[in-house]
């Protein structure tokens, strides 16, 4: 022996990796970042951001058009096509999707996953219909959530956090799973843009209730926060907006993402395989 390859000495992960996912918000064709779903700040051009994320070999990308549902308009197919053409990583698009024809059209434009949010609350059967056309692996349900004033329930909101649906976690997420969703993204309105860490109590509420892949968005302010999530939940989706578009305490706009060595170190440190 004596000359074994170096990799034999360290544990090579032979399992599904956690996903570290930048989430980009689009408003009036520009890239924006919000705080608590309010005060969208212009941070640049979406295509330019995608190109930088390509170079950084990100795991996945989520792009949400936050105007579409609010203004009751259709998804902007030209923009989606352009995005899909640029993305060298898997892309999840959301915003203004209300019919299974739209889901199918977006997949045909080259998008791997389509996110449904307010339409899934208003018309849950859409999830089933969409899954029939494109397969459940490509149907993502994004739930924007807020802890209620009593502090004891997790409410689902729509229309950029302005409309309370009267639905709750984890029950509604499980309902979505049964109807054919392929992934649940939990987006914390309370933590959006705060960069003070994920709401782990919220993750705890839902993680055990569903058997779909789960992605958490809202609150990540450092790689340490992402490490914490991975440490506790293993192969989970750790999404973040502010973390990957701002740098430093003054929130200077700088598209960033851990390089492969940094990412692997973070995973290795925190990911305990079964």
């Amino acid at each position: 022996m004596g000359h074994s390859a170096p990799w034999k000495f360290c544990k090579v992960i032979k399992m599904l990796y956690p996903r570290i996912i930048p989430c980009l918000l689009i408003k009036d064709k520009g890239l924006v970042k919000t705080v608590n779903f309010k005060n969208p700040k212009y941070v640049g051009d979406p295509i330019n951001a995608v190109r930088i994320f390509n170079e950084k070999e990100v795991d996945e990308l989520i792009v949400l058009d936050i105007d579409a549902t609010f203004k009751k308009r259709e998804p902007d197919y030209n923009m989606i096509e352009h995005l899909a053409e640029e993305c060298r990583m898997p892309l999840c698009y959301g915003g203004g999707v209300t019919t299974s024809d739209q889901v199918q059209r977006i997949v045909q434009l080259g998008v791997e996953k389509v996110a449904i949010s307010s339409a899934a609350v208003e018309n849950p059967n859409l999830v089933t219909e969409a899954a029939k056309c494109v397969g459940n692996q490509s149907v993502v349900v994004v739930l924007d959530v807020k802890i209620n004033s009593m502090g004891d329930k997790c409410e689902i909101w729509t229309h950029n956090g302005l409309k309370n649906t009267g639905k709750f976690l984890p029950e509604f997420a499980l309902h979505m799973e049964r109807l054919g969703a392929g992934e649940i993204v939990i987006n914390s309105i309370d933590n959006d843009g705060k960069m003070k860490g994920y709401d782990l109590a919220l993750v705890e509420k839902i993680r055990g209730s569903i058997s779909l892949p789960l992605t958490i968005l809202g609150g990540a302010g450092s790689l340490h926060d992402i490490g914490q999530l991975i440490n506790k939940y293993g192969a989970i989706g750790a999404a973040a907006g502010s973390l990957f578009v701002f740098k430093g305490v003054y929130r200077a706009v700088l598209i960033n993402y851990p390089n492969r060595a940094e990412k692997d170190a973070l995973i290795k440190k925190n990911y305990r395989t079964a």
Binding site: K14, L16, R19, A84, M89, V107, V134, Q137, L212
Partner: protein
């Protein structure tokens, strides 16, 4: 010329971008006529099994593809649901598949795994080559990882058709090859440097 089939099931542009980057000529093909000059074929796919089979039938390319692959032995690479279409049947649908590699597509929860796995299998995972000499997998080292997005997997009738497996609770075939027919369950077009390598290997094979 590598023909990338566009039956409206997935990101054909991502494949042509990779080949442009590699300086390898490729063309996106929507109709049977486009296949005349093809020396290799890529069958991409995002979607449900029956839907994909229907779209292939409707495209009018089915007959010429059968002839190219089965009689003229033109190399073909199925991606994701495109790989599953190579099988005879799928638990996801009721239509027959292409039947180019003997096997059946099964849903993940029919794996008798001990622990609770989340389905779909979504994200980056390693591959473990069972046939290191296969052209498709050349140069893909221990660290190679690929993006997966699927709830169903290809169960091969013959174990020698499996060229790589992936561990998701149990090991399943993530890459298959029999003669001129290749399939991968993951998305090489969205798997950064490792995917580019694999698509380059297919072009050279």
């Amino acid at each position: 010329m590598i023909a990338i089939l566009d039956i409206g099931m997935g990101n054909v542009k991502a494949f042509s971008d990779v080949y442009k980057k590699l300086n390898i000529p490729s063309v996106i093909v929507k109709q049977a006529e486009g296949l005349n000059n093809a020396s290799k074929v890529i069958l991409p796919g995002v979607g449900a099994f029956d839907h994909a089979m229907q779209r292939l039938e409707k495209s009018g390319m089915r007959q010429i593809l059968d002839q190219m692959v089965l009689q003229r032995h033109v190399p073909v690479l199925g991606i994701c649901v495109g790989m599953q279409m190579l099988a005879g049947s799928s638990e996801e649908g009721s239509l027959p598949g292409l039947g180019w590699i003997d096997g059946e597509v099964k849903r993940f929860n029919s794996l008798s795994t001990g622990h609770s796995l989340r389905v779909p299998h979504m994200g980056w995972n390693n591959i473990i080559p069972s046939n290191k000499h296969n052209d498709l997998l050349q140069g893909l080292d221990i660290d190679a990882r690929f993006y997966f997005l699927h709830s169903y997997y290809f169960h091969c009738c013959r174990s020698e058709d499996v060229i790589a497996v992936t561990d998701y609770g149990e090991k399943f075939a993530c890459a298959v090859n029999r003669g001129n027919v290749f399939g991968v369950q993951f998305h090489p077009e969205k798997s950064h440097q490792w995917g580019i390598r694999l698509l380059g290997n297919f072009a050279k094979s």
